[in-house]
């Protein structure tokens, strides 16, 4: 590997001033814009979670009233799903890495890329405006006819926020698809792509095919609430179940918009810290695409008790269980990659291992919930809450943090303090389990979700959960502090601090504006650690023999 020569100019110091950031078309700078924005919305959504857990520390509704509580969990869901989980990995890591990983100078449509950030921010403004005026109380699912005819809160402005966030997600997906198809460096065939690229490609397919359905659903919802053009309200001849079908046709695949990029991150981390090509590369790549496809056929598992026919329920139940197959393929292949690898316990790897454990629990409880008998029993209880937090927080957030820790030296050129990063990874893992595992028990014992008060017998588990949330909160605060700290004081990371494989590690840290001095030519398979070692040896030999 080369010396740590740092390029004199990189994307960060190429230009200065607010204008150079707000009008940038550089995918790496847009990634930073996303990073700032999603961190802000995560903090805001986290604040709601803090209030929720505080309220649930005691059985009585003593901190907030029921209607305030309804707004808290609604805004928590809206912010975390539409403004954090969906844009986080694609917007930050995807934007930064995809062009570099495929050896391109930028996305196919740099201006569209910037526009998607502005559309997202406009959506965020609508959501924030609604919050300042008192929020929404429909739940993030906006079920009709409550949302269109009864709720007295800011449904329309929040729905516009969701619509805009969705449109931004569509533009991001469009950009990824065209970029991966048309901008790959010479020699970089489809099956040489890093699995992160495969995952985001599969994600983009879902973004393109599912998100427009949410968009039209929200448009119809707004039309019904604003102009009484009734499509869903039974009083106007509509069918509220149709709303649920349309909503979940998007919102189940939306889970894959969140989790597929996380899979991609984990594949990169596991391979880099096991120093091995990922086990069954092609199968892992194909699993991403098959999850994307299967994800469109399972939305009915959200509607087992919504007057859907039992026959439809059985079909949806079976199809939902099918998703477990490619998901399990991934988990087994990551585990198999570790086997006989030279595993090192760097911070990103801690997150990756945490991910594998938590995703396994989240996934298996998903299979339980896909079983109609169990679902009817635990429907709308904390069991469901625990399940999707294991998938969305336990898996997606762990992967996002792991990815940030892995690529942070590439993004900023600086290293964060290793000791503190390991402490925080541990705190996140322990705090997360302490927060959400008791919720499985609570749900199984029958505690319903979305209530601000509960019977006394649930208090012990709820206090455990709230205590865990405190640990989790500290675990999130520490990286926030040291990431900021490292930007100025962190020691210079060098081009490839992990000695990892991939085009992004071949360029400087931080990369120059156009990523590479010349378009790279790709000659090796993905994660070909052996091939790379041989190539290095071959390269260094003549140098050594020269006088």
């Amino acid at each position: 590997m080369s010396s740590n020569e740092t390029a004199p100019t990189n994307y960060l110091n190429a230009d200065y001033g607010v204008r150079s950031w707000l009008f940038t078309v550089d995918h790496k700078r847009i990634a930073i814009l996303y990073l700032i924005a999603v961190t802000f919305f995560f903090a805001l959504g986290g604040l709601m979670a803090v209030l929720i857990r505080l309220e649930l520390a005691t059985p009585a509704g003593d901190l907030v009233q029921a209607d305030v509580y309804n707004r808290l969990f609604t805004m928590h869901g809206v912010l975390m799903i539409f403004f954090f989980l969906i844009p986080a990995i694609p917007g930050v890591l995807g934007n930064f890495l995809i062009p570099i990983m495929i050896g391109a100078k930028d996305m196919a449509f740099p201006k569209v890329n910037l526009a998607s950030w502005y559309v997202y921010m406009a959506g965020g403004l609508f959501a924030a405006w609604s919050m300042l005026h008192g929020g929404v109380d429909t739940g993030w699912t906006f079920y009709t006819p409550f949302s269109t005819a009864f709720s007295n809160t800011y449904v329309i402005s929040t729905a516009i926020g969701g619509f805009l966030a969705g449109f931004s997600s569509i533009l991001t997906g469009l950009n990824f698809i065209v970029t991966v198809h048309r901008m790959r460096a010479p020699g970089l065939t489809w099956f040489r792509l890093p699995l992160f690229v495969w995952s985001l490609y599969a994600t983009a397919i879902v973004q393109i095919l599912a998100t427009p359905v949410l968009a039209i659903t929200l448009v119809l919802l707004i039309a019904e609430r604003a102009f009484r053009i009734g499509i869903f309200d039974p009083a106007l001849g509509g069918d509220p179940v149709l709303f649920q079908h349309l909503f979940w046709f998007y919102s189940h695949p939306a889970v894959y918009i969140m989790i597929l990029p996380a899979f991609g991150v984990i594949s990169e981390l596991v391979s880099a810290f096991a120093r091995k090509r990922i086990f069954g590369y092609r199968v892992v790549a194909a699993a991403s695409v098959s999850i994307a496809v299967l994800g469109f056929l399972v939305w009915g598992h959200h509607m087992f008790v919504s007057s859907q026919s039992p026959y439809a329920g059985v079909i949806f139940s079976l199809l939902s269980m099918l998703v477990a197959v490619p998901s399990a393929v991934k988990v087994f292949n990551w585990t198999a990659t570790l086997y006989e690898g030279s595993v090192s316990w760097e911070t990103p790897m801690l997150y990756a291992l945490g991910f594998i454990g938590l995703f396994t629990i989240g996934g298996l409880t998903g299979v339980m919930l896909a079983t109609m008998g169990i679902d009817i029993h635990v429907h709308d209880t904390y069991f469901v809450v625990a399940h999707f937090h294991y998938v969305m927080v336990g898996a997606v957030l762990m992967a996002y943090l792991g990815g940030l820790h892995f690529w942070w030296p590439k993004i900023t050129g600086r290293m964060y303090p290793i000791f503190w990063s390991k402490i925080s990874a541990l705190l996140v893992f322990v705090g997360f389990n302490l927060t959400f595992f008791p919720q499985f028990l609570l749900g199984y014992l029958g505690m319903p979700r979305r209530y601000h008060a509960y019977p006394d017998e649930f208090q012990v588990l709820n206090v455990l959960s709230s205590a865990g949330a405190t640990v989790l909160g500290v675990g999130y605060l520490i990286p926030l502090v040291y990431f900021f700290w490292s930007m100025r004081y962190g020691k210079r990371a060098g081009d490839n601090p992990w000695d990892a494989f991939g085009l992004e590690w071949e360029t400087t840290s931080p990369p120059p504006t156009f990523n590479f001095p010349a378009t790279p030519k790709v000659t090796l398979e993905a994660y070909d650690y052996t091939g790379r070692a041989e190539a290095r040896l071959a390269r260094t030999q003549p140098v050594r023999s020269s006088p």
Binding site: L220, R228, L236, L242, F501, A518
Partner: protein, 230 residues
């Protein structure tokens, strides 16, 4: 992969003359053109899914209220709808001719055909406004003032809900298209497009044909299907 190895860093950046209009991040005009068309096709795929939600709602409610939908359909003005279909197909022809003019480098011809396309789009929207006006006077617009003399009033109202939602969103797509067409006409007049580089005209052409095709589905669904069943 490993490739832009350290030695690649020292390679000089290829200093070939970049063709006019080639954006910084593309290697060649043909790559730029491929990316541009491909992007438009992907955009149209998401448009199909967007309208798909509405068509699903139409199928669901039409199946539930076949008689009411036939009655509602009967109350629409078939002549105006048919004329509009012809107008829109005509506008697709002029759009296609504008693309042809761009491919063959006829600057003035591009502008003429784009203006014709905008005019035909305007005629379509004008006729649509007349139709909407009729419905307003007949109290067939959904909402508190909706009134229907006859059976199945609720089902008919659902027909009009969908009629206005579908044709309204279609009209909105036309307005957006016409606004972009107007901008493209100005650029074309200033000579922004060459036979080798006219992605915007071609992409916009795809969009315009798509909006046209949506109407080709809307017209029979709303004006024709089940018309004599009521």
């Amino acid at each position: 992969m490993s490739t832009a190895e350290p030695d690649a860093r020292t390679q000089p950046v290829a200093s070939k003359l970049r063709p006019w209009g080639l954006a910084h991040h593309f290697e060649s005009l043909s790559q730029q053109q491929d990316a541009s068309y491909f992007g438009m096709w992907i955009f149209l795929v998401q448009e199909i899914m967007f309208f798909g939600g509405l068509f699903t709602a139409y199928i669901v409610y039409r199946t539930a209220n076949p008689t009411a939908f036939a009655l509602g359909s009967d109350s629409l003005d078939l002549t105006l709808g048919a004329v509009n279909t012809a107008v829109l197909i005509g506008s697709s022809l002029t759009m296609a001719l504008a693309v042809w003019a761009a491919q063959t480098g006829r600057r003035r011809t591009i502008v003429v055909f784009i203006i014709l396309t905008i005019l035909l789009g305007g005629v379509f929207l004008g006729i649509k406004t007349v139709e909407y006006g009729h419905k307003w006077h007949e109290h067939h617009v959904p909402g508190p003032s909706f009134h229907w003399d006859g059976p199945e009033a609720r089902g008919v109202q659902m027909f009009f809900n969908l009629y206005f939602a579908m044709t309204g969103l279609h009209a909105l797509h036309m307005v957006v298209g016409m606004a972009i067409l107007a901008a493209v006409a100005v650029w074309a007049w200033r000579g922004a497009f060459t036979p080798g580089n006219h992605n915007l005209v071609e992409g916009l052409g795809l969009y315009w044909h798509f909006v046209d095709i949506v109407w080709i589905f809307l017209f029979p669904l709303l004006y024709l299907l089940g018309r004599h069943a009521g």
